[in-house]
Assembly symmetry: C2
Homo-oligomer: 262 residues x 2
C-alpha cells in the first residue's frame, strides 16, 4: 500500500479511500462499492467536503423522524460498515434503533463479516444473517430482509443506498431517510428525508440531534411537520450550483498563478 | 456477477463498471482505479454522458498537436488499458505514436499484463517493461519511464492521469494532452490541452481528427495556434454549470411526477 504524505492536497479523501480498499481486502466492501465510493467523492469534492446548512436542516429532520418512530431501523451495507461502523453503533444506541445488514451483493459470509464488524464497534442484536421477509418489487437477494427489522420498520435510515431499493422502501409507505452525496440520485429523489452529506459527517450530526430531541417529543413532532422536503432539496441544488461556480473561480485563479510561475 | 437488465436507467455505465471489475480480477486495474473510475462516472453523469462541443474542439486541438509532434507518446495505465485498449492501439497507429505503459501502482507483473492486453488489441512495440529514465520531481515507481518514450516525448497524451504526474510532465516543458472528466482536476489544470470527455468517446474522436489532419500539416499548425486553452476551459465550466441546472430541472420534474403517482 502506498504511504500517503500528509502534505497531499487531498489527504483526508485519500485516507478514506485506503480504508475502503483495506475493507475490500477483508471481504467487507465489494468492487462495485469502490466505484460507488468514487462517485460520492466527486460530489463531496464539488460540495467542498463540509456539511452545508441545508444538509444540517435535513439531518435534524432525520433525527426527529428517527426518535419519533415506533420501529426505526438503520440499514447497513458494506461501504457503510467500512466507513462508519462506530457512528452507526452510537446512533443506533442514541435513538434507539435496530441495525440490519442489507446487501446488494449478498453472500452469507459477507453478512457475517459485517455483523462482526458492527458488533465489535458496539452495535447490539444486529439483524441480517437469517432474513425471513422480502421487500416487494425487488428481485433476488437484494429483496431479503428481516420481518422484525426493515420489513416492519416505519422509519428506515438507508445510507449509501441504491435507487431501486430506496424506491421500493418508499413504495412500502415507509419514511425513508437517505444519506447520499448526489442530490440528483434516484435515492435522494425517492427519500422522504434526503440528507446530502458525507456519511461520517452526517451520522454524528444526526446522533447529536437525536440525543437533544429524545427528551422533547413535542419539538421532534414540530420539526417533522415543519420540514419542507422540496424546499430543502432545492436549497441543496442551489448550494451545489453555487459551489461549482466557486470551484471554477478558484480553478481559474490557481491556473493563472501556475501559468505565471512557469 | 450480477446480470444487468437492459432496461436499467444506467445500463451503459453499469456495463462499463462490470468491465472494470473484470479487469481488476485479471490484474489489470487496481482497487484505487475502481474508485477513480467512480469519480469520473459522477462527472460524466453531470455532463450528460455525451461529448460536448467544447470537448470536440479540444479533441481536434489534441489531434493537431499529436500529428505535428516529433516524438508523440500515448501513456497508458490500468484503467485506460481496461476501457480502451483497442482505441489506444488504433490512435497510436493513426498518428503514429509510441505507446508506453506507465503505472502509479507499478509492479512488473501488472506492466506485463497490460502490455499483453495492448498487443492483443493491435498496439506495436509497447514500452513500459524496462524503464531507463525518470520523470523529475516524482518519487518512487511513479517516476519510472522510457528514454525513447515519455522521457523524450514532445507531446504526451495522458488519459486518466493523476495530478502529480501531469504537473511533472508539464514542468518538463512537454505539451500535455489530458483526457479527464473533471474540468477542475489538477490534471485538467496542468494540461496544455485538457480534453474533458469520457475516454472511449474521446480517443476515437481524436483518431478521426488525426487521420484528417495528417495529410494537411498547414491546417494542423493553424489549429495548434488558434486553440484557446483558457477560453476552452471556461466553455467547459459554463457547460458543466448549464448541465447541472438542466439536471436539477429534470430531477424536479421527475420528483413531482413520482410524488403525484403515490
Amino acid at each position: 500500500m502506498t504511504r500517503i504524505p500528509r502534505s497531499h492536497p487531498r489527504y483526508a479523501s485519500l485516507v478514506t479511500r485506503e480504508a475502503l480498499v483495506a475493507a475490500h481486502r477483508h471481504g467487507i466492501v465489494v468492487l462495485e462499492g469502490l466505484i460507488a465510493h468514487g462517485r460520492g467523492e466527486a460530489f463531496d469534492y464539488l460540495l467542498g467536503e463540509a456539511t452545508s446548512a441545508c444538509a444540517l436542516v435535513a439531518e435534524r429532520a432525520a433525527a426527529a423522524h428517527l426518535v419519533a418512530a415506533e420501529r426505526p431501523v438503520i440499514s447497513v451495507n458494506g461501504n457503510v460498515a467500512a466507513l462508519a461502523a462506530g457512528p452507526v453503533a452510537r446512533l443506533a444506541k442514541a435513538i434507539p434503533a435496530r441495525v440490519e445488514v442489507n446487501l446488494f451483493h449478498r453472500t452469507d459470509e459477507r453478512v457475517r463479516r459485517i455483523v462482526r464488524l458492527l458488533a465489535a464497534a458496539g452495535a447490539r442484536d444486529v439483524l441480517g444473517p437469517r432474513p425471513d421477509a422480502r421487500i416487494p418489487g425487488l428481485e433476488s437477494a437484494r429483496a431479503r430482509c428481516h420481518r422484525e427489522g426493515i420489513f416492519r420498520a416505519d422509519v428506515v435510515l438507508v445510507p449509501l443506498e441504491d435507487g431501486d431499493r430506496a424506491e421500493a422502501l418508499a413504495r412500502m409507505g415507509k419514511v425513508v431517510v437517505s444519506v447520499d452525496l448526489n442530490p440528483l440520485s434516484r435515492t435522494s429523489l425517492a427519500a422522504t428525508v434526503p440528507v446530502v452529506d458525507e456519511l461520517t459527517r452526517a451520522l454524528p450530526n444526526i446522533e447529536r440531534f437525536a440525543r437533544a430531541l429524545k427528551a422533547r417529543p413535542g419539538e421532534a413532532a414540530r420539526i417533522v411537520r415543519a420540514y419542507d422536503r422540496g424546499g430543502n432539496l432545492a436549497a441543496n441544488y442551489a448550494f451545489l450550483r453555487w459551489r461549482l461556480s466557486q470551484s471554477v473561480r478558484t480553478a481559474k485563479g490557481g491556473r493563472a498563478k501556475a501559468r505565471r510561475k512557469r
